[in-house]
Amino acid sequence: MSGWSGRILRVDLSAKTYTTELTAPYTQYIGGRGISTKILYDEVGPDVKPYDPENRLIIGPGVLTGTPAPTSSRTTITTLLPNGTIGSSGFGGFIGAEIRHAGYDNIIVQEKAEYPVYLYLHDDTVEFRDAAKIWGKDTIETPELIRKELGDPDVQVLCIGPAGENMVSFACVRTGVQAASGRGGTGAVMGSKNLKAIAVRGKRGIEISNIGEFLKVANQTGKMLLDHQSLQSPAAKMSKLAVDLNDSPNDRGVAVFGNWEQVDWEEIGAANFARGGEEYYDKHYHARVGCNGCPIFRCYRICDDPETGLGTAKCYSQPMFTFRVWNRDWTVMEAAGHLCNNYGLDVLSTANIIAFLMELYHRGIITEKDTDGVPMKRGDKDAIMSTIHKIARQEGYGRLFRDGVLAGARLIGRGSEQYAMTVKGQEVGLHEFRGRKGTALVLAAGTKRGGGEYPHPESIWAIKKVNKEACDPRTYEHKGEVVLESTYVYMIVDMLGICKNYFAWAFNRSLEFPAKLFSLATGVETSVEDLITAAKKVQLLERAFDVSRGIRRKDDTLPDRFFDTPVPGGPLKGDTLERDKFAKLLSEYYELCGWDEEGIPKKETFTKYGLASDWETLAKRLPKEGAARG
């Protein structure tokens, strides 16, 4: 096969065996997230619980991952998440390319190892190696120890930290100093399988159907990217300049203070909340690091933090560990970001819990007695750091939150559930959803968990200037169409393994070049429409998976606070979500997706895409309900 490696690796941790299967039957789902979704849908029924050995952890680099197609480094991990829904969490780095170079399209990990192991994939073999020596190590040490043990510095490593080992429901899987499969809790599933890491060394390579033309188009695409105006300034390319939080998210009304709390923006000095980045970087900046084959500037800034050493606090750490936890000190932000990464904790969920505790403390619902003597004062460094340590290590009050903020709120009681900001049992990240109806819809009903994944669906039309009303994030008009279009585009990006930034900056989210590169790589002439059809199939299967586990209309909603209290300040001041209008929007979205009023995909939607057998699978699974958490 060209383009595809042609093989899917299946690893059974319990039997310590591995087999390879053909990719050919799955190519209608393109690759990466698409193929992973189909496999998970087929193999994980509604009776399987997230931490059961029968759950699958499916690693899916895209079809273009590991090729010179610009920005093609992306990989997804697809699994039944700890919250009981399907999730595909993406990341960059170098491991995806290495997996493709090793000759695999997807890797399915199933069952549970008897004792902690790590896998070593090389020369068409899989070694099951004892992980006793690295169990308990953080995500920076682990790859180094593995490389040393294997005696090969070129091995790429995907691993979990102590948080994943302890099965904290929002633990992430990490690779390199920079990248993380952050949202959803893929690390907890990996931990539940006693799988510490996957080390890969690829020597097989990828066949490309029309290599000459492929290189030509890839080169042209790379040049287009670099010529794009957003990358023109030398600062954008290699500098250590900080993103000025106050100039971007705050002005656009994305900033969320605390736990979406009612605060006076003037009083807290919102316009000048979190400065100090440049001073920090002057002192501690070390280098920039990026991903495999990426011509865009290196996205991650490595700092040598006095407290936590070398690490990166990537984009989401910045708003999460400043605005969200009332912290104005850049040093604390960096240290907290590094710490989460080292432990293998999702930054967004962790900050959500800290914000939640700070709100409870502020309201007098809890005192320092509830949190091992550490007062959860807004913005307090000890409160932030000790919560991260305790959650990751599962000590003291950290144990309350092993299954997330809602589970923690239920253990605390005292009416604190209403302050746990979750959707389908998963912590809401950031963004001011009340003023952004499209973003709110994605979070409520989208199939990719997190809400941080495609936060501005309107921008897809804003560029094309299709419809003024639709482009205004504050209106409900056309939001169903806008959200769907952006959902498909981002899904295709995950299936091909290219980076979302590629679209945001260079191609105005046009899929023409990716489609061309895909066609040249595989030799299968594929249009943009063909890719969108594939994305529709994958979305259908993702929804069918969730529906088979009891997800219905009632679950496609947001925390009450977003409906009941308006935005307290900033450009979106006064905005709120209206229940009736949101319900109407949800119906409109279901209709466009081909789902019924309850959010169950209709039989004719399946048959329209030639997926009748998948409908039969769903029909068999349907009577069993209530498996989802939350």
Binding site: F94, G176, Q178, G202, G205, I206, I208, F214, L226, I302
Partner: protein, 165 residues
């Protein structure tokens, strides 16, 4: 005049694009393992691209028992004649930079041939760590940077002093 591949270490970020395109050009597959240029990375963010220096007096050629390795001075390329090569790998042992590889797939030694005057790696190095320049220009950028530094140290304080008067 012959051209040469110029490597600017400070600009290399270790993205490995050169390895992918080099293997694509030479082996028709994307496989960094078989690439002629290798990015040695001590840290993920620090790359050192290592490839054939196309030596004026190549050690690989000197040890070759069948004289299969010769240098084309006009193009500045050290080439292997595979009609003569017996696969003894003496050249791999002799190269002081580890730039002579052994391709385990085709069972032949392999090295950079500058894509016969159109190196793919330089075309794809968007960070400009690899450039294909005239031999006499290899040191130009470095000289200019040093000159600027020198000028800044010598002239700037004098100008400041002059302005103060």
């Amino acid at each position: 005049m012959a051209k040469a591949l110029k490597i600017d270490l400070e600009k290399c970020v270790g993205c490995r694009t050169c390895e992918m395109v080099c293997s694509a050009k030479h082996t028709n597959t994307i496989n960094p393992y078989r690439s002629c240029i290798k990015v040695v990375r001590e840290k993920e963010w620090e790359g050192v691209p290592m490839t054939c220096a196309q030596c004026e007096d190549p050690q690989c050629g000197a040890v070759c028992p069948v004289k299969a390795i010769t240098r084309d001075d006009k193009m500045g390329i050290v080439r292997i004649d595979f009609d003569k090569c017996i696969g003894c790998r003496m050249c791999v042992a002799a190269c002081p930079f580890g730039a002579m590889n052994f391709d385990a797939v085709v069972k032949k030694v392999s090295k950079c041939d500058l894509c016969e005057g159109d190196p793919e790696c330089a075309k794809f190095c968007f960070y400009r760590a690899l450039t294909y320049v005239d031999e006499s220009e290899l040191a130009t950028d470095k000289r200019r940077a040093a000159a600027k530094k020198l000028s800044d140290t010598v002239r700037k304080p004098a100008e400041t002093a002059a302005a103060a008067k």
